[in-house]
């Protein structure tokens, strides 16, 4: 790793890989930093060392990632694995740790491609061992060929059905799928159906997963309104409610999912402006047509800015790369526009389905905002819903003040699994919009690092690239 690059990209998922590959080869020095040991991100995790003989298990969409991985490998971009980025400053100084050593790298242009994480699912018992996210289940399936027979899948959204479908294809018995998609969502999604029908292939794919799961005799229970995970030291069962009736099934492994949301920690800590998205119920970065944020020279590409999925992320990565190349003087305006044009067209096609999916799989309020007082909201500091409501009743106006009331959001995950819940809870309790309540203020380091790493950082002045 050098101390300075023209373009630095954080995250080697579809957006980051595409951005790095597109940016290299135009005369700019390009650095791609990623925490994992291999390229792929979450969606294409372990794609280049996959050893399932049967490609139908993970499906052809997954193996599409191989093209990106090889495009990146031959692009000339410097890909540093095992690199944890804990800071990006407005001056584009990147704090990164690798092998226990921290260092600062500066870049003329930064593209954040931090991707998505799963939305919090604060129901009773969601902290029990044996309860994981559906994305987590898919991670160990891809990277270690591990699966949990007789697991219960609970929640809503394409990833939940896809992982259950992948289990079925792999011959792993699934105990049940408890679908929490609200009945009323279909009607709300209807106005978006005509646009979605132009992406009929993708639409039918999801229907096929569900139809196959049902045809295989896996209980697929729809319109579940409430969930509780039970057990003391590990999860032992799931209680679920439809209408007024509660039922229970035994389960030693439960996979939860109710959509994905942008991983905003690095961008928010850099100071990039965000706005509340009422459609996706999460924070979106304010970006221009090239992904550039309100901080000059810092762009965001892919699901880290707004949820669009893997293919959209790839196109956005390429668009952001051309924008960055232009800003650092490697591409003229006309050349930038013409090179990016095909990706803009592909992106527009890819985004046609999104409003329909957002409306159809919008998680219900009662599964976003805990109804019971004892339900844990902040997993790290074990803050129950009651303490948050009490704090608001005492006059706490927002998530940052709530920290001093309760330590909510102050644990190692830094609000990643409570931030959205907290903002929505406070908004509900105060009777105001989430935008008015705001988000937890995030600060570097966005990932914990050793004090000795910080102390050992070189103290000689870092040469600063000229500000625009």
């Amino acid at each position: 790793m050098k101390s300075r690059y023209d373009i630095a990209i954080v995250g080697a998922g579809p957006a980051g890989m595409a951005a790095a590959a597109a940016a290299a080869g135009h005369g700019a020095s390009v650095l791609l930093l990623d925490e994992q040991s291999e390229a792929g991100g979450q969606i294409y995790r372990a794609v280049s060392r996959q050893n399932f003989k049967d490609r139908n298990i993970l499906g052809s969409d997954y193996y599409e990632g191989l093209d990106l991985v090889s495009e990146l490998a031959s692009s000339g971009a410097e890909h540093v694995t095992g690199a944890t980025v804990w800071q990006v400053s407005p001056e584009r100084e990147i704090g990164v740790s690798k092998d226990g050593t921290a260092r600062m790298v500066t870049a003329g242009q930064v593209i954040l491609a931090t991707g998505a994480q799963e939305r919090p699912f604060p129901v009773p018992g969601w902290t029990l061992p044996g309860v994981m996210t559906a994305g987590g289940a898919q991670s160990v399936l891809k990277s270690s060929a591990l699966a949990a027979p007789d697991a219960v899948f609970a929640g809503s959204g394409p990833l939940l059905y896809l992982v259950a479908y992948q289990y079925m294809k792999a011959g792993i018995p699934v105990r049940a799928i408890l679908d929490t998609t609200p009945r009323a969502n279909a009607l709300r999604a209807l106005p978006h159906l005509p646009a979605a029908l132009r992406s009929i292939g993708a639409l039918m794919k999801g229907r096929r997963w569900i139809a196959s799961l049902r045809a295989a005799g896996i209980p697929f229970i729809k319109h579940i309104e409430d969930l509780k995970l039970t057990g003391t030291d590990c999860v032992t069962g799931v209680e679920y409610r439809r209408g007024k009736r509660w039922r229970k099934i035994d389960a030693a492994q439960v996979f939860l999912h109710q959509g994905v949301v942008p991983d905003v920690n690095l961008a928010m800590a850099a100071g990039c402006a965000h706005r509340w998205s009422a459609a996706q119920l999460c924070w979106h970065a304010e970006t221009d047509a090239w992904g550039e944020t309100d901080i000059p020279g810092i762009a965001i590409a892919g699901d880290g800015a707004a949820i669009g999925g893997a293919l959209a992320a790839e196109y956005l990565g390429r668009i952001a790369a051309h924008g960055a190349l232009h800003r650092c003087g490697c591409l003229g305006r006309a050349e930038r526009d013409s090179l990016a044009a095909p990706f803009r067209r592909a992106l527009a096609g890819e985004m046609r389905l999104r409003p329909f999916l957002d409306a159809l799989f919008r998680p219900p309020r009662r599964l976003r905002i805990p109804q019971g007082d004892a339900t844990i909201v902040c997993r790290c500091e074990e803050v129950p819903a009651a303490l948050i409501r009490e704090s608001v009743a005492l006059g706490c106006l927002g998530p940052n003040q709530l920290k001093s009331f309760s330590r909510c959001g102050m644990g190692p995950c830094q609000g990643r699994f409570c931030g959205l819940t907290v903002s929505e809870m406070i908004a509900e309790a105060r009777g105001v919009g989430v935008a008015e309540v705001g988000a937890l203020r995030l600060r570097p380091p966005v990932k914990p690092l050793m004090l000795e790493e910080l102390a050992a950082l070189a103290v000689e002045p870092v040469s600063m690239p000229g500000k625009r």
């Binding site: 994480q117 061992p129 990277s143 060929a145 591990l146 949990a148 792999a170 074990e382």
Partner: protein, 109 residues
């Protein structure tokens, strides 16, 4: 959890709570423990409740374990290495003032 499909990846032996545990090269510590049917990885500093891995992508920090004497390591983000000693983390973990974590460590926070 159990291993499915072709399983010819080279084996790596680690130690969990003093007992040998066979993993596969490329496994994260969390995957290796899950393959050994361990679901509970630690107890929390606040209430002492049991926790295990949740997100498996480095975001939730619920899979924290002690690795080779160093606490607060993310089991889902660190690959297994032959002879690695892994223990459940109890509470906040002992930060072991005076214990050096530097020098030849291959895992990354």
């Amino acid at each position: 959890m159990r291993r499915i499909g072709r399983d010819d990846a080279p084996q790596v032996t680690i130690e969990f709570e003093g007992e040998p545990l066979t993993a596969r090269r490329g496994d994260s510590v969390a995957a290796a423990l899950l393959a050994g049917n361990h679901r509970s990885f630690r107890t929390t500093p606040v209430s002492g409740a049991a926790r295990g891995p949740f997100c498996m992508m480095g975001s939730c920090f619920d899979c924290l374990v002690e690795i080779d004497g160093a606490p607060n390591r993310q089991a889902c983000m660190i690959e297994v290495r032959e002879g690695m000693r892994v223990r459940r983390q109890r509470g906040a973990g002992d930060i072991g003032l005076g214990h050096s974590t530097g020098g030849g460590r291959e895992d990354t926070p």
